[in-house]
C-alpha cells in the first residue's frame, strides 16, 4: 500500500494566506491535512519598546509566556526590553516573571519560564539616546550569535504615537531596520493611527521610509482577528444568510460599542480625541465594512482588504450633519449602582472641554446591495453596560395573516452579532405564545462561541504576536483603510468643532437626547443597551 498522492490534500481552509509559501522550499514534515501541528514561529527576537506600560505588563509579556507554554515559540526565542530604567537583564526578567505569574492564562511551569528567561535581555536608555540604540543593535546581534535567532527582529512599539518618529529614526540610524537581505524586520504599532487624515498620512510617512508596507503591523487588538474571521465565516460559509443580507430584507443596521467605564486615567489621551476618533474611525467602521462588504474572491488578506476598501469608499455621510449626527458628554450620575462624576470633573479634563464621550452617526452605503438602508453607529462611555454588537434589523413581513391584536407584541426580526461580552449570535423572531388565544411575541435564539466548541478562543494578543512572528499578513488596516476611515470622519469632526457643543447626558443613561432624536426622526429607535 502506498501513501496517498499529495495532490489530493485539500488546501488548508480557514487559514488566512500562508506566507512565502512559494519562497521557501516545502517542508516535508508539514502537511495541510495534519491539523495537529500548529504554526510555530521561526527563530527570532522580539524587541519591545515601552515595557514599563500597563499593556506590556498585563497583556504582552503574559502572551509571550503563553505562546512559549503552548510550544509555539521557536528554540532560542529571545525577548528584549528597551526603556529608560536603570535595569540589568535580571531586573527586567524579574519584572517579566511577575507579569507572567500574575496575568498569564496558561498554568505556570518552571521549565518553560527557565527556558524563556535565558533569552530575556534589557537595554537601558531614552529614545533620543544614540548610544542606547547602538547598544540595542549590539545586543540583538549577540543574540543571533549566541542563541541562533537568525537575524530576524520584530519591533513592538508599545509607546505613544508622538514618539514613533524618534524611535523609527533611531532604528534606521542604528542600522536595525535594515536586514541587508539576511532575516526579516517587522514593526508593530497600535491604534490610534493618527487623529485625522493629515496626521495619519504623516504617521505613515514616518514608517514608510524605513519599513516596507508589508512589514508594518497595525494592531487593533480590540477587534481581534478571531472576531473578524467569525463574521466572515457567518456571512460567507453559510447559505441561509446571504439571500436576505441586502436592502430587500434589511430595514437598517445598528452598530454599537458601549462602555460602562469613564475615561479613567486616560485624560491626557482622551481630551481632544473623543469617542468618534477613539473607536468609531477604527472599530465601528471596520465592523461596518465587514457587515456591508461583498464576498471577497479569496479568504486572504489582500482580497479582503480590497472588498473592505471598496465598501468604505461607498460610505456616505448624511446630507444634514446637524440632524444626522449626535454627540454628548457624560454628566455626573449613577452608573451600575455607584455614584460617578461627570466628564468635565475628571482629573486632567479642562472644564470647558468640548471633547465628546458619546457619538452617534447615520451613514449610508451607496451600493446596489445597501441603497436606502441606513447604518446607525454609536459609541459611548458611562453607558449602562459594556457591549459591542452589530444588529441587522429586518423589515416587517409585507403581510400578516393575523389580526392586529394578535401581533401587537411582535417587533421586527433581528440578527445580532454580539462581539463582546459573550461573543455569539442572537436571532430574534416572532413565536406563538402558548395558550388558546392566537398571540405572537418576540423570542430569542442564542448561540455562544464559548459554549459550542471544545477549544477556547486564543487571547487576542497571543494570536497577534504569533501572526507577527510568523509573518502572517495582518487582517488589520493597511494605510488605505485608515485613510478612508478619516475621510469619512473628518467632515463630521470639522462640523462638530465649528457648530456644536456636546450635549450632557447622565452617567448610566443610554446617551444624549439628540441621539434618540436622530433615530426618532427616521421612525426608528436604538436597541436597548
Amino acid at each position: 500500500m502506498t501513501a496517498e498522492p499529495e495532490g489530493l490534500a485539500p488546501a488548508s481552509p480557514g487559514v488566512i494566506a500562508e506566507v512565502d509559501a512559494a519562497a521557501q522550499p516545502r517542508n516535508p514534515l508539514r502537511d495541510p491535512r495534519d491539523r495537529r501541528i500548529p504554526r510555530v514561529a521561526g527563530p527570532c527576537v522580539l524587541v519591545m519598546f515601552g515595557v514599563t506600560g500597563d499593556l506590556a505588563r498585563k497583556k504582552l509579556m503574559p502572551a509571550v509566556y503563553d505562546l512559549a507554554n503552548r510550544g509555539l515559540l521557536p528554540p532560542g526565542f529571545s525577548f528584549v526590553g528597551f526603556a529608560r530604567r536603570d535595569w540589568a537583564d535580571e531586573d527586567f526578567a524579574q519584572v517579566t516573571y511577575q507579569a507572567v505569574k500574575e496575568y498569564a492564562r496558561t498554568p505556570f511551569r518552571d521549565a518553560v519560564w527557565e527556558q524563556l528567561s535565558e533569552g530575556v535581555r534589557f537595554v537601558s536608555g531614552s529614545f533620543s539616546d544614540d548610544a542606547a540604540f547602538d547598544e540595542l543593535a549590539e545586543c540583538v546581534h549577540k543574540l543571533d550569535a549566541e542563541r541562533g535567532t537568525g537575524g530576524n527582529y520584530a519591533f513592538y512599539l508599545s509607546i505613544p504615537p508622538s514618539q514613533f518618529p524618534t524611535v523609527v529614526q533611531q532604528l534606521k540610524r542604528s542600522g536595525l531596520s535594515d536586514s541587508h537581505g539576511r532575516g526579516w524586520r517587522r514593526v508593530v504599532i497600535e491604534k490610534p493611527f493618527g487623529h485625522d487624515l493629515a496626521s495619519a498620512r504623516e504617521l505613515n510617512a514616518t514608517l514608510d521610509g524605513v519599513f516596507p508596507p508589508e512589514a508594518v503591523f497595525r494592531i487593533d487588538h480590540y477587534l481581534g482577528k478571531e472576531t473578524v474571521q467569525n463574521i466572515l465565516a457567518l456571512r460567507f460559509a453559510n447559505e441561509m444568510y446571504e439571500p436576505i443580507w441586502n436592502r430587500g430584507y434589511v430595514d437598517h443596521v445598528q452598530i454599537t460599542m458601549a462602555e460602562d467605564i469613564g475615561i479613567g486615567g486616560r485624560a491626557g489621551y482622551y481630551d481632544g480625541i473623543g469617542a468618534a476618533r477613539d473607536v468609531m474611525q477604527n472599530h465601528l467602521l471596520q465592523l461596518l465594512a465587514l457587515t456591508a462588504m461583498e464576498e471577497p474572491v479569496a479568504f486572504d488578506a489582500d482580497s479582503l482588504r480590497m472588498e473592505k476598501e471598496k465598501v468604505l469608499s461607498a460610505v456616505r455621510l448624511p446630507a444634514d450633519l446637524a440632524t444626522g449626527t449626535a454627540r454628548g458628554q457624560y454628566a455626573a450620575g449613577w452608573q451600575g449602582g455607584r455614584q460617578v462624576g461627570g466628564f468635565l470633573e475628571e482629573d486632567g479634563i479642562p472644564p470647558d472641554s468640548r471633547t465628546e464621550t458619546y457619538a452617534a452617526l447615520r451613514l449610508g452605503v451607496d451600493t446596489r446591495r445597501w441603497a436606502g438602508v441606513p447604518f446607525y453607529l454609536r459609541a459611548g462611555k458611562r453607558l449602562p453596560r459594556r457591549m459591542t454588537e452589530i444588529a441587522l434589523i429586518f423589515q416587517r413581513a409585507p403581510h400578516l395573516p393575523f389580526s392586529a391584536t394578535d401581533t401587537e407584541e411582535l417587533g421586527q426580526n433581528a440578527l445580532v452579532i454580539r462581539i463582546q461580552p459573550d461573543e455569539g449570535i442572537t436571532v430574534r423572531f416572532g413565536s406563538k405564545v402558548p395558550g388558546t388565544a392566537m398571540e405572537v411575541r418576540d423570542v430569542n435564539m442564542d448561540f455562544a462561541y464559548g459554549e459550542s466548541f471544545t477549544e477556547s478562543s486564543p487571547e487576542a494578543y497571543e494570536r497577534l504576536l504569533l501572526d507577527v512572528l510568523i509573518g502572517d499578513p495582518p487582517l488589520f488596516p493597511r494605510q488605505q483603510e485608515v485613510e478612508l476611515g478619516w475621510r469619512i470622519l473628518d467632515p463630521v469632526e470639522d462640523f462638530w468643532a465649528t457648530y456644536s457643543k456636546p450635549e450632557q447626558y447622565p452617567a448610566g443613561s443610554a446617551g444624549p437626547a439628540s441621539a434618540e432624536e436622530l433615530m426618532a426622526q427616521d421612525g426608528r429607535a436604538w436597541r436597548r443597551l
Binding site: M1, A3, E4, Q24, P25, N27, P28, L29, R30, D31, R33, D34, R35, R36, I37, P38, V40, G42, P43, A68, N69, G71, L73, P74, P75, G76, F77, R109, A111, V112, E114, Q115, L116, E118, A145, E146, R147, G148, G150, D446, F447, A448, G450, E451, S452, F453, T454, E455, S456
Partner: protein, 301 residues
C-alpha cells in the same frame, strides 16, 4: 447534584436528567458532544476526571460505561452528576450480567441529539474499535496503545483494523515532538541521510514518530532504546553532521545543529486531560495518523 438510580431504565435516566436540569435552572443547550468512556470500576475515576477537565469550558455529555459482574442477572445502575464538574452532564452507567454485552442499547437513547459522538477506551481497547458496538456509534474512536501489555503489537493490531475516525493517545502524545521537528525543518536544512528515535523500549509514541519521519522524509529511521522518560531524543544524520533534539528530563529539549549555538525550548510531557482535549478538538478522520500506522505496519512485516 448527584442522582443515584438503581435497577433503572434509560427512560428513567432521561426523566431524572430533565428534572435535574429544571431544578438547576438551566435548559440543555449548547451541548458540544457526547463522550462515551468504556472503562471498569478501577479506572473510571481517573478517566472521568480527565474527561471532565478536558471539557471544562464546554458542556458535553459524558457516558461512562462500566461493566460489572458479568455472571449476575442483568441490571442497570446509573449515577447522574449535573452541575458538579462543570457545565456538562456525567452519567456513570454500571451494567451487570448479560446487559454488559449490549451496552449499545443503553447508550443509544442517551446520546445528545445532533452532536458528534466520541468513544474512548482509556485502558484495554477492542482489537477492532470501528466494529465494536460502542465504537460503531462514534465519529471518533480513541484508544491508548500505551495501556496495552505489548504496545507495539497493539498498534499493529489497530493498523490492521483501522477505519477513518480511529485515533490513539500514543499518537496524540507525539504532537509536541512532531511540531518541534516540523518547526526545525522550516529553516533550510542539509540533506538528511537517516534518523533515529530514542525512548523506553515499550514506548509506542516513539514507534509512531519513527514511522512518521520515515514516510515523510523518505529515509530510514532507527528506533533505539533509552531509559526514558518517554521519548528522549530524535536525531538526524545529515551531510553536515548530526542534528539532534534531546530531552533527557522530560521537560526541556535542546536542539543542536552543526555550526550553530545550542538552542533550548520547553517540551513537557502532557497530562491525560490535555491529550483528551486535543482529541476532542478535531473530529474529522486523521489521515496522517492512518498513513503513519500503515507505514509502521509495513516496516514490521
Amino acid at each position: 447534584m448527584t442522582i443515584d438510580l438503581t435497577d433503572t431504565t434509560t427512560a428513567a435516566i432521561h426523566e431524572a436528567l430533565t428534572q435535574a436540569r429544571r431544578r438547576m435552572g438551566g435548559p440543555a443547550s449548547g451541548m458540544v458532544l457526547t463522550l462515551i468512556i468504556v472503562t471498569d470500576e478501577a479506572d473510571q475515576y481517573d478517566a472521568v476526571r480527565a474527561a471532565s477537565h478536558a471539557g471544562r469550558e464546554h458542556p458535553s455529555r459524558i457516558l461512562a460505561v462500566i461493566t460489572r459482574k458479568p455472571k449476575s442477572d442483568s441490571r442497570l445502575d446509573a449515577e447522574i452528576r449535573v452541575g458538579e464538574t462543570g457545565p456538562g452532564e456525567t452519567i456513570l452507567l454500571r451494567m451487570y450480567g448479560p446487559l454488559g454485552e449490549h451496552a449499545d442499547s443503553v447508550v443509544a437513547p442517551l446520546l445528545a441529539p445532533d452532536v458528534p459522538v466520541v468513544t474512548w477506551w482509556p485502558d484495554e481497547a477492542p482489537r477492532s474499535p470501528g466494529s465494536d458496538r460502542l465504537g460503531a456509534v462514534a465519529q471518533r474512536r480513541v484508544t491508548d496503545a500505551a495501556a496495552a501489555d505489548a504496545p507495539r503489537d497493539m498498534l499493529l493490531t489497530l493498523a490492521k483494523s483501522y477505519q477513518p475516525g480511529d485515533t490513539d493517545l500514543s499518537w496524540t502524545r507525539s504532537t509536541p515532538w512532531r511540531s518541534l521537528l516540523a518547526a526545525t525543518l522550516d529553516q533550510p536544512y542539509p540533506e538528511i541521510l537517516s534518523g533515529e528515535v530514542l525512548a523506553e523500549p515499550t514506548n509506542p509514541t516513539a514507534d509512531l514518530i519513527a514511522a512518521w519521519l520515515g514516510t515523510r522524509l523518505g529515509i530510514e529511521v532507527r528506533r533505539g532504546e533509552s531509559a526514558g522518560p518517554g521519548v528522549t531524543e530524535v536525531s538526524f544524520t545529515t551531510q553536515d553532521g548530526q542534528v539532534t533534539i534531546s530531552r533527557p528530563d522530560g521537560r526541556t529539549a535542546t536542539l543542536s545543529w552543526p555550526g550553530r549555538p545550542e538552542r533550548r525550548v520547553a517540551l513537557h510531557r502532557r497530562d491525560t486531560d490535555d491529550l483528551v482535549a486535543e482529541e476532542l478538538r478535531r473530529l474529522e478522520p486523521d489521515e496522517v495518523y492512518a498513513e503513519t500506522l500503515r507505514a509502521l505496519a509495513r516496516g514490521s512485516s
